[in-house]
Symmetry: C2
Subunit: 272 residues, 2 copies
DNA sequence: TCGGGGTCGATTGTATGCAATCGAGGTGAG
DNA sequence: CTCACCTCGATTGCATACAATCGACCCCGA
Protein backbone atom coordinates (compact mmCIF):
# COMPACT_ATOMS: atom_id res chain seq x y z
CA UNK A 1 0.00 0.00 0.00
CA UNK A 2 1.37 3.40 -0.87
CA UNK A 3 2.16 5.10 2.31
CA UNK A 4 2.26 8.85 2.42
CA UNK A 5 4.84 11.18 1.21
CA UNK A 6 8.16 10.30 2.71
CA UNK A 7 11.03 12.45 3.62
CA UNK A 8 14.19 12.18 1.75
CA UNK A 9 16.73 13.86 3.93
CA UNK A 10 16.88 10.87 6.26
CA UNK A 11 19.21 12.55 8.72
CA UNK A 12 21.83 9.98 9.56
CA UNK A 13 21.83 9.90 13.34
CA UNK A 14 25.47 9.56 14.19
CA UNK A 15 27.62 12.54 13.50
CA UNK A 16 30.71 10.53 14.04
CA UNK A 17 30.12 9.50 17.60
CA UNK A 18 31.68 6.25 16.56
CA UNK A 19 30.84 4.23 19.61
CA UNK A 20 29.90 1.00 17.98
CA UNK A 21 30.76 0.11 14.45
CA UNK A 22 33.66 1.74 12.71
CA UNK A 23 31.02 3.11 10.39
CA UNK A 24 31.54 -0.15 8.64
CA UNK A 25 28.88 -0.63 6.03
CA UNK A 26 27.18 2.59 5.16
CA UNK A 27 24.77 0.48 3.20
CA UNK A 28 23.07 -1.10 6.17
CA UNK A 29 19.81 -0.08 4.63
CA UNK A 30 19.81 3.45 5.86
CA UNK A 31 18.86 5.28 2.74
CA UNK A 32 16.96 2.35 1.38
CA UNK A 33 13.83 2.53 3.47
CA UNK A 34 10.87 3.89 1.58
CA UNK A 35 9.30 5.53 4.58
CA UNK A 36 10.41 6.75 7.96
CA UNK A 37 7.44 5.16 9.59
CA UNK A 38 5.46 8.23 10.42
CA UNK A 39 3.79 11.18 8.82
CA UNK A 40 7.19 12.58 8.04
CA UNK A 41 6.45 16.14 8.96
CA UNK A 42 5.81 19.12 6.73
CA UNK A 43 8.51 18.47 4.22
CA UNK A 44 6.27 18.65 1.22
CA UNK A 45 3.62 21.07 0.20
CA UNK A 46 1.97 22.97 2.96
CA UNK A 47 2.03 23.36 6.70
CA UNK A 48 -0.85 20.86 6.99
CA UNK A 49 -2.35 20.11 10.41
CA UNK A 50 0.29 19.06 12.90
CA UNK A 51 -0.76 15.43 12.83
CA UNK A 52 -3.47 13.38 11.29
CA UNK A 53 -6.04 12.28 13.81
CA UNK A 54 -7.04 8.78 14.76
CA UNK A 55 -3.77 7.44 15.99
CA UNK A 56 -2.31 8.24 19.34
CA UNK A 57 1.09 9.29 18.38
CA UNK A 58 3.16 8.25 21.37
CA UNK A 59 2.71 4.57 20.71
CA UNK A 60 3.09 5.21 17.02
CA UNK A 61 6.35 6.99 17.66
CA UNK A 62 7.56 4.14 19.76
CA UNK A 63 6.76 1.72 16.99
CA UNK A 64 8.42 3.93 14.42
CA UNK A 65 11.62 4.30 16.42
CA UNK A 66 11.69 0.61 17.13
CA UNK A 67 11.27 -0.18 13.46
CA UNK A 68 14.03 2.22 12.60
CA UNK A 69 16.32 0.65 15.15
CA UNK A 70 15.58 -2.78 13.78
CA UNK A 71 16.11 -1.59 10.25
CA UNK A 72 19.45 -0.16 11.19
CA UNK A 73 18.54 3.47 10.70
CA UNK A 74 19.70 4.05 14.23
CA UNK A 75 22.67 1.72 14.60
CA UNK A 76 23.72 0.28 17.96
CA UNK A 77 25.60 2.77 20.04
CA UNK A 78 24.20 5.77 18.29
CA UNK A 79 22.79 8.57 20.32
CA UNK A 80 19.10 9.38 20.13
CA UNK A 81 18.69 13.04 20.91
CA UNK A 82 15.15 13.94 21.79
CA UNK A 83 14.90 16.99 19.64
CA UNK A 84 16.27 15.18 16.62
CA UNK A 85 13.69 12.45 17.05
CA UNK A 86 11.10 15.13 17.58
CA UNK A 87 11.92 16.67 14.26
CA UNK A 88 12.23 13.36 12.48
CA UNK A 89 8.87 12.00 13.55
CA UNK A 90 7.01 15.26 13.55
CA UNK A 91 5.91 15.42 17.16
CA UNK A 92 7.01 17.27 20.22
CA UNK A 93 9.50 15.92 22.70
CA UNK A 94 6.89 14.64 25.10
CA UNK A 95 5.65 11.66 23.11
CA UNK A 96 9.21 11.04 22.05
CA UNK A 97 10.26 10.75 25.66
CA UNK A 98 7.43 8.37 26.39
CA UNK A 99 8.37 6.25 23.42
CA UNK A 100 11.95 6.16 24.64
CA UNK A 101 10.80 4.94 28.02
CA UNK A 102 8.96 2.13 26.33
CA UNK A 103 11.96 1.21 24.26
CA UNK A 104 14.15 1.36 27.33
CA UNK A 105 11.96 -1.09 29.16
CA UNK A 106 12.01 -3.30 26.10
CA UNK A 107 15.77 -3.17 26.08
CA UNK A 108 16.29 -1.48 22.74
CA UNK A 109 17.91 1.59 24.21
CA UNK A 110 19.75 2.49 27.35
CA UNK A 111 19.52 5.80 29.09
CA UNK A 112 21.28 7.56 31.88
CA UNK A 113 20.06 10.67 33.63
CA UNK A 114 21.01 13.82 31.81
CA UNK A 115 23.19 11.76 29.52
CA UNK A 116 20.56 10.93 26.98
CA UNK A 117 19.49 7.77 25.27
CA UNK A 118 21.70 5.45 23.27
CA UNK A 119 20.74 2.50 21.13
CA UNK A 120 21.72 -0.68 22.94
CA UNK A 121 24.77 -2.57 21.83
CA UNK A 122 24.17 -5.95 20.38
CA UNK A 123 27.30 -8.01 20.53
CA UNK A 124 27.64 -11.65 19.70
CA UNK A 125 26.98 -12.84 23.22
CA UNK A 126 23.77 -10.87 23.44
CA UNK A 127 22.56 -12.30 20.18
CA UNK A 128 23.42 -15.77 21.34
CA UNK A 129 21.52 -15.22 24.57
CA UNK A 130 18.52 -13.90 22.72
CA UNK A 131 18.38 -16.97 20.58
CA UNK A 132 18.74 -19.18 23.63
CA UNK A 133 15.92 -17.36 25.31
CA UNK A 134 13.73 -17.70 22.30
CA UNK A 135 14.55 -21.38 22.07
CA UNK A 136 13.29 -21.80 25.60
CA UNK A 137 10.22 -19.60 25.49
CA UNK A 138 8.67 -20.09 22.11
CA UNK A 139 7.95 -23.77 22.60
CA UNK A 140 6.11 -22.85 25.76
CA UNK A 141 4.05 -20.25 23.94
CA UNK A 142 3.40 -22.59 21.06
CA UNK A 143 2.17 -25.23 23.43
CA UNK A 144 -0.25 -22.83 25.02
CA UNK A 145 -1.29 -21.61 21.59
CA UNK A 146 -2.03 -25.10 20.40
CA UNK A 147 -4.41 -25.46 23.30
CA UNK A 148 -6.06 -22.06 23.22
CA UNK A 149 -5.83 -20.66 19.71
CA UNK A 150 -8.94 -19.25 18.15
CA UNK A 151 -9.90 -20.09 14.58
CA UNK A 152 -9.24 -16.49 13.60
CA UNK A 153 -5.71 -16.69 14.88
CA UNK A 154 -5.15 -19.96 13.08
CA UNK A 155 -6.45 -18.40 9.90
CA UNK A 156 -4.18 -15.44 10.26
CA UNK A 157 -1.20 -17.68 10.76
CA UNK A 158 -2.07 -19.65 7.64
CA UNK A 159 -2.43 -16.44 5.72
CA UNK A 160 0.99 -15.36 6.89
CA UNK A 161 2.41 -18.65 5.70
CA UNK A 162 1.05 -17.99 2.24
CA UNK A 163 2.39 -14.46 2.19
CA UNK A 164 5.75 -15.71 3.34
CA UNK A 165 5.84 -18.27 0.59
CA UNK A 166 5.16 -15.56 -1.93
CA UNK A 167 7.79 -13.29 -0.48
CA UNK A 168 10.24 -16.14 -0.38
CA UNK A 169 9.84 -17.08 -4.02
CA UNK A 170 9.97 -13.43 -4.97
CA UNK A 171 13.11 -12.98 -2.91
CA UNK A 172 11.72 -10.08 -0.92
CA UNK A 173 13.85 -10.60 2.13
CA UNK A 174 12.87 -7.48 4.02
CA UNK A 175 9.22 -8.39 3.68
CA UNK A 176 10.06 -11.89 4.80
CA UNK A 177 11.68 -10.61 7.95
CA UNK A 178 8.64 -8.52 8.74
CA UNK A 179 6.35 -11.46 8.12
CA UNK A 180 8.51 -13.50 10.41
CA UNK A 181 8.08 -11.03 13.22
CA UNK A 182 4.39 -10.84 12.56
CA UNK A 183 4.10 -14.61 12.57
CA UNK A 184 5.74 -14.94 15.93
CA UNK A 185 3.70 -12.07 17.24
CA UNK A 186 0.43 -13.70 16.27
CA UNK A 187 1.64 -17.02 17.57
CA UNK A 188 2.44 -15.35 20.86
CA UNK A 189 -0.99 -13.75 21.01
CA UNK A 190 -2.54 -17.11 20.36
CA UNK A 191 -0.97 -18.41 23.53
CA UNK A 192 -3.73 -16.62 25.37
CA UNK A 193 -1.42 -15.48 28.11
CA UNK A 194 -0.86 -11.77 28.41
CA UNK A 195 2.51 -12.17 30.00
CA UNK A 196 3.79 -14.79 27.65
CA UNK A 197 2.41 -13.02 24.63
CA UNK A 198 4.00 -9.72 25.50
CA UNK A 199 7.29 -11.33 26.33
CA UNK A 200 7.50 -13.40 23.19
CA UNK A 201 6.37 -10.50 21.07
CA UNK A 202 9.08 -8.24 22.42
CA UNK A 203 11.47 -11.10 21.97
CA UNK A 204 10.49 -11.51 18.36
CA UNK A 205 11.26 -7.86 17.76
CA UNK A 206 14.65 -8.34 19.25
CA UNK A 207 15.23 -11.41 17.15
CA UNK A 208 14.36 -9.46 14.05
CA UNK A 209 16.88 -6.90 15.16
CA UNK A 210 19.50 -9.57 15.63
CA UNK A 211 18.96 -10.83 12.14
CA UNK A 212 18.98 -7.40 10.63
CA UNK A 213 22.12 -6.37 12.47
CA UNK A 214 23.96 -9.61 12.77
CA UNK A 215 23.66 -10.89 9.23
CA UNK A 216 25.27 -7.87 7.57
CA UNK A 217 27.88 -7.92 10.27
CA UNK A 218 28.35 -11.58 9.56
CA UNK A 219 28.84 -10.79 5.91
CA UNK A 220 31.40 -8.19 6.86
CA UNK A 221 33.20 -10.59 9.16
CA UNK A 222 33.05 -13.17 6.48
CA UNK A 223 34.96 -10.97 4.07
CA UNK A 224 37.38 -9.98 6.75
CA UNK A 225 38.04 -13.64 7.27
CA UNK A 226 38.47 -14.07 3.55
CA UNK A 227 41.08 -11.38 3.69
CA UNK A 228 42.84 -13.16 6.51
CA UNK A 229 42.85 -16.33 4.49
CA UNK A 230 44.44 -14.52 1.61
CA UNK A 231 47.02 -13.06 3.95
CA UNK A 232 47.85 -16.48 5.26
CA UNK A 233 48.23 -17.78 1.72
CA UNK A 234 50.38 -14.84 0.82
CA UNK A 235 52.58 -15.49 3.82
CA UNK A 236 52.74 -19.16 2.88
CA UNK A 237 51.79 -20.05 6.41
CA UNK A 238 49.93 -23.37 6.23
CA UNK A 239 49.09 -23.61 9.90
CA UNK A 240 47.66 -20.16 10.08
CA UNK A 241 45.72 -20.65 6.89
CA UNK A 242 44.29 -23.84 8.21
CA UNK A 243 43.33 -22.25 11.49
CA UNK A 244 41.73 -19.26 9.84
CA UNK A 245 39.74 -21.38 7.48
CA UNK A 246 38.63 -23.59 10.32
CA UNK A 247 37.43 -20.56 12.23
CA UNK A 248 35.75 -19.26 9.15
CA UNK A 249 33.84 -22.47 8.64
CA UNK A 250 32.90 -22.57 12.26
CA UNK A 251 31.57 -19.04 12.12
CA UNK A 252 29.62 -19.84 9.01
CA UNK A 253 28.11 -22.81 10.71
CA UNK A 254 27.14 -20.66 13.62
CA UNK A 255 25.51 -18.20 11.29
CA UNK A 256 23.73 -21.00 9.55
CA UNK A 257 22.50 -22.45 12.78
CA UNK A 258 20.76 -19.13 13.36
CA UNK A 259 19.18 -19.08 10.06
CA UNK A 260 15.57 -20.21 10.25
CA UNK A 261 14.55 -16.85 9.01
CA UNK A 262 10.97 -17.39 8.06
CA UNK A 263 7.68 -18.82 9.19
CA UNK A 264 8.09 -21.52 6.60
CA UNK A 265 11.39 -22.50 8.05
CA UNK A 266 11.26 -26.16 8.82
CA UNK A 267 14.29 -26.37 10.97
CA UNK A 268 15.49 -29.82 11.54
CA UNK A 269 18.59 -28.84 13.36
CA UNK A 270 19.70 -30.61 16.44
CA UNK A 271 20.37 -27.56 18.56
CA UNK A 272 23.91 -28.72 19.29
CA UNK B 1 -5.75 23.44 42.25
CA UNK B 2 -3.85 23.50 45.47
CA UNK B 3 -1.72 20.48 45.09
CA UNK B 4 0.68 21.29 47.84
CA UNK B 5 0.04 19.67 51.11
CA UNK B 6 -2.01 16.67 51.96
CA UNK B 7 -0.77 13.25 51.23
CA UNK B 8 -1.56 11.31 54.30
CA UNK B 9 -5.08 10.46 53.21
CA UNK B 10 -3.50 7.73 51.17
CA UNK B 11 -6.25 7.74 48.64
CA UNK B 12 -7.24 4.15 48.12
CA UNK B 13 -7.06 3.83 44.37
CA UNK B 14 -10.52 2.58 43.63
CA UNK B 15 -13.26 5.04 44.34
CA UNK B 16 -15.81 2.38 43.80
CA UNK B 17 -14.71 1.37 40.37
CA UNK B 18 -14.80 -2.11 41.74
CA UNK B 19 -13.20 -3.82 38.83
CA UNK B 20 -10.94 -6.23 40.56
CA UNK B 21 -10.97 -7.36 44.13
CA UNK B 22 -13.96 -6.80 46.32
CA UNK B 23 -11.69 -4.66 48.43
CA UNK B 24 -10.70 -7.93 50.00
CA UNK B 25 -8.01 -7.26 52.53
CA UNK B 26 -7.68 -3.61 53.39
CA UNK B 27 -4.63 -4.63 55.33
CA UNK B 28 -2.56 -5.60 52.33
CA UNK B 29 0.10 -3.34 53.67
CA UNK B 30 -1.30 -0.10 52.47
CA UNK B 31 -1.09 1.93 55.60
CA UNK B 32 1.57 -0.29 57.02
CA UNK B 33 4.42 0.72 54.80
CA UNK B 34 6.69 3.22 56.43
CA UNK B 35 6.88 5.17 53.23
CA UNK B 36 4.81 5.41 50.11
CA UNK B 37 7.90 4.92 48.09
CA UNK B 38 8.72 8.50 47.42
CA UNK B 39 9.34 11.70 49.27
CA UNK B 40 5.71 11.67 50.28
CA UNK B 41 5.42 15.38 49.88
CA UNK B 42 5.68 18.05 52.54
CA UNK B 43 3.69 16.26 55.17
CA UNK B 44 6.12 17.08 57.90
CA UNK B 45 7.69 20.32 58.86
CA UNK B 46 7.96 22.90 56.16
CA UNK B 47 7.23 23.44 52.51
CA UNK B 48 10.75 22.28 51.61
CA UNK B 49 11.79 22.18 47.95
CA UNK B 50 9.39 20.18 45.80
CA UNK B 51 11.70 17.21 45.59
CA UNK B 52 15.01 16.29 47.04
CA UNK B 53 17.74 16.50 44.50
CA UNK B 54 19.98 13.75 43.30
CA UNK B 55 17.37 11.36 42.05
CA UNK B 56 15.74 11.66 38.69
CA UNK B 57 12.15 11.38 39.54
CA UNK B 58 10.65 9.65 36.53
CA UNK B 59 12.49 6.44 37.14
CA UNK B 60 11.90 6.81 40.83
CA UNK B 61 8.21 7.21 40.20
CA UNK B 62 8.20 4.13 38.06
CA UNK B 63 9.88 2.17 40.79
CA UNK B 64 7.49 3.53 43.38
CA UNK B 65 4.40 2.65 41.38
CA UNK B 66 5.78 -0.78 40.62
CA UNK B 67 6.47 -1.38 44.28
CA UNK B 68 3.01 -0.25 45.17
CA UNK B 69 1.50 -2.56 42.59
CA UNK B 70 3.53 -5.44 43.93
CA UNK B 71 2.57 -4.59 47.48
CA UNK B 72 -1.04 -4.57 46.53
CA UNK B 73 -1.62 -0.88 47.06
CA UNK B 74 -2.93 -0.76 43.54
CA UNK B 75 -4.75 -4.05 43.13
CA UNK B 76 -5.14 -5.76 39.76
CA UNK B 77 -7.87 -4.20 37.69
CA UNK B 78 -7.75 -0.90 39.50
CA UNK B 79 -7.56 2.24 37.50
CA UNK B 80 -4.48 4.42 37.69
CA UNK B 81 -5.55 7.97 36.96
CA UNK B 82 -2.65 10.19 36.11
CA UNK B 83 -3.58 13.08 38.29
CA UNK B 84 -4.14 10.86 41.29
CA UNK B 85 -0.70 9.35 40.83
CA UNK B 86 0.64 12.84 40.35
CA UNK B 87 -0.72 13.88 43.70
CA UNK B 88 0.32 10.69 45.42
CA UNK B 89 3.92 10.77 44.33
CA UNK B 90 4.34 14.51 44.36
CA UNK B 91 5.29 15.11 40.76
CA UNK B 92 3.54 16.42 37.72
CA UNK B 93 1.78 14.23 35.21
CA UNK B 94 4.70 14.12 32.82
CA UNK B 95 7.00 11.84 34.79
CA UNK B 96 3.96 9.86 35.83
CA UNK B 97 3.11 9.20 32.22
CA UNK B 98 6.66 8.16 31.48
CA UNK B 99 6.62 5.79 34.41
CA UNK B 100 3.36 4.33 33.17
CA UNK B 101 4.90 3.69 29.78
CA UNK B 102 7.69 1.81 31.45
CA UNK B 103 5.28 -0.24 33.50
CA UNK B 104 3.20 -0.91 30.43
CA UNK B 105 6.19 -2.29 28.57
CA UNK B 106 6.99 -4.39 31.60
CA UNK B 107 3.48 -5.73 31.62
CA UNK B 108 2.35 -4.42 34.98
CA UNK B 109 -0.33 -2.21 33.52
CA UNK B 110 -2.40 -2.08 30.40
CA UNK B 111 -3.49 1.08 28.69
CA UNK B 112 -5.82 2.03 25.91
CA UNK B 113 -5.94 5.40 24.22
CA UNK B 114 -8.04 7.90 26.09
CA UNK B 115 -9.22 5.11 28.35
CA UNK B 116 -6.46 5.36 30.86
CA UNK B 117 -4.23 2.84 32.53
CA UNK B 118 -5.33 -0.16 34.50
CA UNK B 119 -3.29 -2.53 36.62
CA UNK B 120 -2.96 -5.81 34.77
CA UNK B 121 -5.02 -8.75 35.86
CA UNK B 122 -3.13 -11.65 37.25
CA UNK B 123 -5.21 -14.76 37.06
CA UNK B 124 -4.11 -18.24 37.85
CA UNK B 125 -3.04 -19.04 34.31
CA UNK B 126 -0.85 -15.97 34.13
CA UNK B 127 0.82 -16.85 37.38
CA UNK B 128 1.39 -20.37 36.17
CA UNK B 129 2.91 -19.08 32.95
CA UNK B 130 5.17 -16.72 34.83
CA UNK B 131 6.51 -19.53 36.93
CA UNK B 132 7.03 -21.64 33.84
CA UNK B 133 8.91 -18.83 32.20
CA UNK B 134 11.05 -18.34 35.21
CA UNK B 135 11.74 -22.04 35.39
CA UNK B 136 13.04 -21.90 31.86
CA UNK B 137 15.01 -18.68 32.02
CA UNK B 138 16.64 -18.56 35.40
CA UNK B 139 18.76 -21.65 34.87
CA UNK B 140 20.09 -20.04 31.72
CA UNK B 141 20.95 -16.88 33.59
CA UNK B 142 22.47 -18.80 36.45
CA UNK B 143 24.65 -20.72 34.06
CA UNK B 144 25.91 -17.53 32.52
CA UNK B 145 26.40 -16.06 35.96
CA UNK B 146 28.45 -18.99 37.13
CA UNK B 147 30.77 -18.36 34.24
CA UNK B 148 30.95 -14.59 34.38
CA UNK B 149 30.19 -13.43 37.90
CA UNK B 150 32.49 -10.93 39.51
CA UNK B 151 33.68 -11.36 43.07
CA UNK B 152 31.66 -8.33 44.09
CA UNK B 153 28.50 -9.88 42.77
CA UNK B 154 29.23 -13.12 44.53
CA UNK B 155 29.82 -11.23 47.74
CA UNK B 156 26.57 -9.37 47.39
CA UNK B 157 24.70 -12.61 46.85
CA UNK B 158 26.25 -14.11 49.97
CA UNK B 159 25.33 -11.03 51.91
CA UNK B 160 21.76 -11.36 50.71
CA UNK B 161 21.73 -14.95 51.87
CA UNK B 162 22.70 -13.86 55.34
CA UNK B 163 20.10 -11.12 55.41
CA UNK B 164 17.48 -13.57 54.22
CA UNK B 165 18.38 -15.99 56.96
CA UNK B 166 17.96 -13.25 59.52
CA UNK B 167 14.66 -12.14 58.05
CA UNK B 168 13.48 -15.71 57.95
CA UNK B 169 14.22 -16.46 61.57
CA UNK B 170 12.69 -13.15 62.54
CA UNK B 171 9.63 -13.95 60.50
CA UNK B 172 9.78 -10.76 58.50
CA UNK B 173 8.06 -12.04 55.42
CA UNK B 174 7.76 -8.76 53.57
CA UNK B 175 11.46 -8.19 53.93
CA UNK B 176 12.05 -11.73 52.78
CA UNK B 177 10.08 -11.14 49.61
CA UNK B 178 12.08 -8.02 48.87
CA UNK B 179 15.31 -9.84 49.48
CA UNK B 180 14.13 -12.55 47.17
CA UNK B 181 13.58 -10.07 44.38
CA UNK B 182 16.91 -8.47 45.08
CA UNK B 183 18.65 -11.81 45.02
CA UNK B 184 17.29 -12.73 41.65
CA UNK B 185 18.04 -9.28 40.39
CA UNK B 186 21.69 -9.51 41.36
CA UNK B 187 21.88 -13.03 40.03
CA UNK B 188 20.51 -11.77 36.76
CA UNK B 189 23.02 -8.95 36.63
CA UNK B 190 25.77 -11.44 37.26
CA UNK B 191 24.83 -13.23 34.06
CA UNK B 192 26.69 -10.47 32.26
CA UNK B 193 24.12 -10.28 29.51
CA UNK B 194 22.16 -7.08 29.24
CA UNK B 195 19.21 -8.75 27.63
CA UNK B 196 19.06 -11.69 29.94
CA UNK B 197 19.64 -9.55 32.98
CA UNK B 198 16.88 -7.13 32.14
CA UNK B 199 14.48 -9.90 31.29
CA UNK B 200 15.11 -11.92 34.40
CA UNK B 201 15.00 -8.84 36.56
CA UNK B 202 11.62 -7.81 35.22
CA UNK B 203 10.55 -11.38 35.63
CA UNK B 204 11.62 -11.43 39.25
CA UNK B 205 9.49 -8.37 39.89
CA UNK B 206 6.55 -10.14 38.38
CA UNK B 207 7.22 -13.20 40.44
CA UNK B 208 7.27 -11.11 43.56
CA UNK B 209 3.95 -9.73 42.46
CA UNK B 210 2.56 -13.19 41.96
CA UNK B 211 3.56 -14.18 45.43
CA UNK B 212 2.22 -11.04 46.99
CA UNK B 213 -1.08 -11.26 45.16
CA UNK B 214 -1.54 -14.96 44.84
CA UNK B 215 -0.77 -16.03 48.36
CA UNK B 216 -3.36 -13.82 50.06
CA UNK B 217 -5.79 -14.80 47.38
CA UNK B 218 -4.90 -18.38 48.05
CA UNK B 219 -5.61 -17.84 51.72
CA UNK B 220 -8.96 -16.34 50.83
CA UNK B 221 -9.78 -19.20 48.52
CA UNK B 222 -8.64 -21.59 51.13
CA UNK B 223 -11.17 -20.31 53.62
CA UNK B 224 -13.83 -20.24 50.98
CA UNK B 225 -13.09 -23.88 50.38
CA UNK B 226 -13.26 -24.50 54.07
CA UNK B 227 -16.69 -22.98 54.04
CA UNK B 228 -17.69 -25.22 51.18
CA UNK B 229 -16.51 -28.21 53.12
CA UNK B 230 -18.61 -27.20 56.06
CA UNK B 231 -21.58 -26.74 53.77
CA UNK B 232 -21.11 -30.21 52.37
CA UNK B 233 -20.94 -31.64 55.86
CA UNK B 234 -24.01 -29.73 56.87
CA UNK B 235 -25.84 -31.06 53.84
CA UNK B 236 -24.64 -34.54 54.68
CA UNK B 237 -23.45 -34.95 51.13
CA UNK B 238 -20.50 -37.34 51.21
CA UNK B 239 -19.68 -37.14 47.53
CA UNK B 240 -19.63 -33.41 47.46
CA UNK B 241 -17.60 -33.23 50.62
CA UNK B 242 -15.12 -35.63 49.20
CA UNK B 243 -14.85 -33.72 45.96
CA UNK B 244 -14.46 -30.40 47.69
CA UNK B 245 -11.78 -31.68 49.98
CA UNK B 246 -9.98 -33.27 47.08
CA UNK B 247 -10.01 -29.98 45.25
CA UNK B 248 -8.87 -28.20 48.34
CA UNK B 249 -5.91 -30.50 48.76
CA UNK B 250 -5.06 -30.17 45.12
CA UNK B 251 -5.13 -26.40 45.34
CA UNK B 252 -2.96 -26.46 48.40
CA UNK B 253 -0.51 -28.65 46.60
CA UNK B 254 -0.47 -26.24 43.74
CA UNK B 255 0.16 -23.38 46.10
CA UNK B 256 2.87 -25.34 47.76
CA UNK B 257 4.47 -26.16 44.48
CA UNK B 258 4.79 -22.43 43.90
CA UNK B 259 6.21 -21.69 47.17
CA UNK B 260 10.01 -21.56 47.13
CA UNK B 261 9.71 -18.02 48.23
CA UNK B 262 13.21 -17.04 49.04
CA UNK B 263 16.85 -17.73 48.49
CA UNK B 264 16.94 -19.55 51.76
CA UNK B 265 13.27 -20.15 52.13
CA UNK B 266 12.80 -23.49 53.65
CA UNK B 267 9.30 -22.98 54.85
CA UNK B 268 7.70 -26.15 55.92
CA UNK B 269 4.16 -25.14 56.64
CA UNK B 270 1.45 -26.60 54.51
CA UNK B 271 -0.57 -23.50 53.75
CA UNK B 272 -3.89 -23.49 55.55
C1' DT C 1 -41.65 3.09 30.73
C1' DC C 2 -37.98 2.57 27.65
C1' DG C 3 -34.80 3.71 23.92
C1' DG C 4 -32.05 7.25 21.21
C1' DG C 5 -29.42 11.29 20.76
C1' DG C 6 -27.05 15.31 22.26
C1' DT C 7 -24.48 17.98 25.68
C1' DC C 8 -21.17 18.46 29.38
C1' DG C 9 -17.69 17.11 32.60
C1' DA C 10 -13.61 14.66 33.31
C1' DT C 11 -9.50 12.57 31.70
C1' DT C 12 -6.07 11.67 28.45
C1' DG C 13 -2.63 13.36 24.93
C1' DT C 14 0.38 16.93 23.32
C1' DA C 15 2.83 21.40 22.92
C1' DT C 16 5.41 25.03 24.90
C1' DG C 17 8.43 27.22 28.36
C1' DC C 18 11.65 27.11 32.00
C1' DA C 19 14.91 25.11 35.47
C1' DA C 20 18.64 21.63 36.28
C1' DT C 21 22.58 19.30 34.88
C1' DC C 22 26.55 17.70 32.28
C1' DG C 23 30.34 17.81 28.97
C1' DA C 24 33.41 20.60 26.03
C1' DG C 25 36.47 24.09 25.56
C1' DG C 26 39.23 27.82 27.15
C1' DT C 27 42.37 30.01 30.62
C1' DG C 28 45.68 30.61 33.89
C1' DA C 29 48.95 28.80 37.38
C1' DG C 30 52.65 25.77 38.33
C1' DC D 1 53.88 21.60 28.57
C1' DT D 2 50.45 19.71 31.79
C1' DC D 3 46.81 19.98 34.71
C1' DA D 4 43.14 21.92 37.45
C1' DC D 5 39.37 24.90 37.34
C1' DC D 6 35.78 27.38 35.54
C1' DT D 7 32.59 29.28 32.38
C1' DC D 8 29.27 28.42 28.75
C1' DG D 9 26.54 26.05 25.40
C1' DA D 10 23.61 22.22 24.65
C1' DT D 11 20.53 18.79 26.25
C1' DT D 12 17.73 16.57 29.47
C1' DG D 13 13.92 16.74 33.00
C1' DC D 14 9.85 18.78 34.63
C1' DA D 15 5.80 21.92 35.30
C1' DT D 16 2.19 24.31 33.22
C1' DA D 17 -1.29 25.19 29.61
C1' DC D 18 -4.18 23.84 26.04
C1' DA D 19 -6.52 20.66 22.63
C1' DA D 20 -8.79 16.11 21.73
C1' DT D 21 -11.53 12.48 23.04
C1' DC D 22 -14.58 9.51 25.66
C1' DG D 23 -18.10 8.25 28.96
C1' DA D 24 -22.05 9.65 31.72
C1' DC D 25 -26.03 12.00 32.29
C1' DC D 26 -30.08 14.24 30.91
C1' DC D 27 -33.71 15.33 27.87
C1' DC D 28 -36.98 14.10 24.59
C1' DG D 29 -40.01 11.33 21.83
C1' DA D 30 -42.56 7.03 21.07
Amino acid sequence: MGRGVEVSTEQAPASGDGAGEPDAGPDTGLAAGPDTGLAAGPSGVGPEPPRRAGKVSASEVSRAIRDDIIRGVHPPGSRLAEEALSARYGVSRVPVREALRTLEAEGFVRSRPYAGVVVAELDDAEAEDLLEIRARLEPLGAGRAAARRTPEQLGRLKELLLLAEDALTAGRLAELARLNSRFHEVLAQASGSQTLSQLVTQLSWKIAWVYAIELPRRAEDSWREHAEIVQALEAADPERASAVVARHISQAQKAYRRRDTGPAARVEDSET
